[in-house]
């Protein structure tokens, strides 16, 4: 259905430009042009001042095959994918389950929803503080409790323990950010036709069957949204890992992510060698390519499932 608009066809009214131009200029100058610049810079060797030297795909070659670089890059990329796998295999099913619990209005739903969502509005640095408060090896709450109940020998390094740190990190992110995806699923469940649900009740359909044969197949819209958001979130992971584990991802770089590698090379300056705008841009372009590829992949999979 076409909606009537303020200027009919053939009219010469251009007053829409007053509305559109300020935003369009701002958005183009501060969002789009910098992106194009990054793509441009990625084929140069340039420190930010002085002459730019065209190097073709050398920056990407160094990123993928460079002596020390390729290890750092693939370790970080591996962590991004490991995290994405955790999101898809653990967090997403839990989000759907919890959304369904809210949908069927288990007792105290309102309270539960408000409390599950609360951490989402906290800043990265506060979440980082909470993580340290609980899991710090010297003065954290966990070790404090263990020490007082069981004795000193049972305390753990937690965030400094290579076997525990990734799992703890996923748990922390789950606590903070899970509810957004859950609410997207929940909103979608609410849009399921009431008639179908009532018919299933009349037919004596059980709780589980109702979920798998009526609710779940009708959730394509929220699946698409959440998959896309998860991919972007996982591939751009930065703040929480940076605050909790430091700029290079803690012990053995177990929680190093591409966005952190990018930050070290783009803004690290004196700590990590020279600042190289060209190479930094190449990392960010690589991020974009990976995100686009994954996005394309998820779109294809979703289309496939639909048919």
């Amino acid at each position: 259905m076409k909606k009537p608009t303020l200027n009919r066809a053939g009219s010469t009214n251009r007053s829409y430009l007053y509305f559109i131009l300020p935003g369009l200029v701002l958005y183009s100058v501060f969002v789009i042009i910098p992106i194009l610049c990054s793509i441009y810079y990625s084929v140069f060797e340039w420190s930010g001042i002085g002459p730019m030297k065209f190097v073709g795909l050398k920056n990407f070659e160094y990123l993928l095959f460079g002596d020390r670089m390729s290890n750092v890059f693939f370790n970080a990329l591996g962590n991004n994918f490991k995290y994405l796998a955790c999101v898809l295999l653990i967090i997403t099913p839990l989000q759907i389950f919890l959304a369904y619990m809210l949908f069927i209005k288990i007792r105290f739903s309102r309270y539960i929803r408000t409390m599950l969502f609360l951490p989402y509005v906290l800043s990265t640095s506060i979440v980082g503080f909470f993580a340290l408060l609980v899991f710090d090896g010297n003065i954290g709450v966990m070790n404090y409790i263990i020490k007082n109940l069981l004795g000193n020998q049972y305390t753990q390094a937690w965030l400094g323990d290579t076997r525990l740190m990734f799992g703890l990190f996923v748990g922390i992110i789950f606590w903070q950010a899970m509810a957004a995806g859950m609410m997207i699923f929940y909103a979608d469940m609410q849009s399921t036709s009431q008639d179908i649900i009532e018919a299933s009740v009349v037919d004596g359909c059980g709780e589980l069957r109702r979920f798998f044969s009526i609710i779940l197949p009708n959730m394509r819209a929220s699946m698409t949204t959440n998959l896309t958001l998860s991919v972007i979130f996982a591939m751009t992971m930065f703040g929480q890992a940076y605050v909790i584990f430091g700029p290079s991802g803690g012990v053995d770089n177990k929680l190093d992510f591409i966005a952190m590698v990018f930050y070290r090379y783009a803004f690290g300056g004196t700590y990590y060698g020279t600042t190289d705008i060209g190479f930094g841009s190449a990392i960010s372009v690589a991020m974009l390519i990976i995100i686009l590829a994954l996005w394309f992949l998820t779109e294809t999979i979703i289309k496939h499932v639909r048919e």
Partner: protein, 283 residues
């Protein structure tokens, strides 16, 4: 929002559901504990913290708050954060609402393309634009400057655009056309008729972006490197960075940053949650 009719359940599944409720309520106590312990511990001295990390303070003191505010000039970070949020929101709400209104109420060539162009911002990682943006801003001396960062926040208007656009599409053209017959200019119509009837959507977007900007970590970290221009989030980060040394002060600092957000959240949680949904679900 539609109300779901109560679905009849068997007694057994009712029991299972109550167990799940109980588990989730227990889980929610993690959050209660973290917030509660932080607030309580902000009234303890460093020596008390070692013996009594998770209990009530035995001899409550405001010492940590005094240190944080008087010696570490926390008022400064609060002011910086507040001003940054205020100016960013002002720019963003004006610019995003106008472009969404222009797109929703007028038809012109290239509109579909423009819409796609504006949505690109939703998918692009911030890392992709930050380097050139930083170079650009430092060239015109807008780093370490609230105005520079506010402009960047206002330029990232994709999300707000989506929510405004949906809302403005629902407004009937006849309201605007009758004002036009009275000779009012389109911009005046927007300011005097549209904005007043759109207060709820302005409030929702303002709320969401308030949380987003108040909490943001990456952009301030890159743009605000001088101590004097830093935000509350960055100040707290610099404490966590040296956790043991700042152990006593950090509880007071976090409490100060936490309370405003919690008040806003508990007052407006329905609006915040449904606003976020409006921007992210596809039709």
């Amino acid at each position: 929002m539609k109300r779901t009719k109560h679905i009849q359940s068997s007694r057994r599944s009712r029991v299972v559901q109550d167990i799940i409720s109980a588990v989730l309520i227990l889980y929610s106590l993690i959050t209660v504990f973290l917030v509660g312990d932080t607030v309580l511990s902000s009234f303890k001295t460093k020596s008390e913290l070692i013996k009594n990390l998770i209990g009530f303070p035995q001899s409550p003191t405001l010492h940590n708050y005094a240190t944080v505010f008087l010696e570490e000039s926390f008022w400064r970070y609060i002011l910086n954060s507040g001003l940054l949020v205020f100016t960013s929101l002002l720019f963003l709400l004006i610019v995003a609402s106008m472009i969404a209104y222009g797109m929703a109420q007028y038809s012109f060539r290239g509109k579909g393309f423009l819409r796609g162009y504006l949505l690109l911002g939703l998918m692009m990682p911030v890392q992709l634009s930050i380097l050139p943006l930083y170079l650009m801003m430092s060239k015109v001396n807008l780093t370490n400057n609230m105005w520079g960062l506010a402009i960047v926040y206002a330029a990232n208007l994709s999300f707000s655009f989506v929510v405004f656009y949906r809302f403005f599409q629902e407004i009937s053209v006849s309201i605007i056309e009758s004002a036009r017959i009275d000779g009012a200019h389109d911009l005046r119509i927007f300011g005097e008729i549209i904005i007043p009837i759109s207060k709820p959507v302005f409030a929702t977007i303002g709320l969401l972006q308030f949380i987003m900007i108040w909490n943001d970590f990456f952009l301030p970290m890159v743009f605000l490197t001088h101590k004097g221009s830093q935000t509350l989030t960055l100040a707290i980060y610099s404490y966590t960075d040296n956790f043991i040394k700042n152990w006593d002060k950090i509880f007071a600092a976090v409490t100060v940053a936490l309370i405003p957000i919690l008040i806003v959240y508990f007052l407006f949680s329905e609006q915040i949650i449904s606003g976020l949904m409006a921007g992210s679900t596809k039709e």
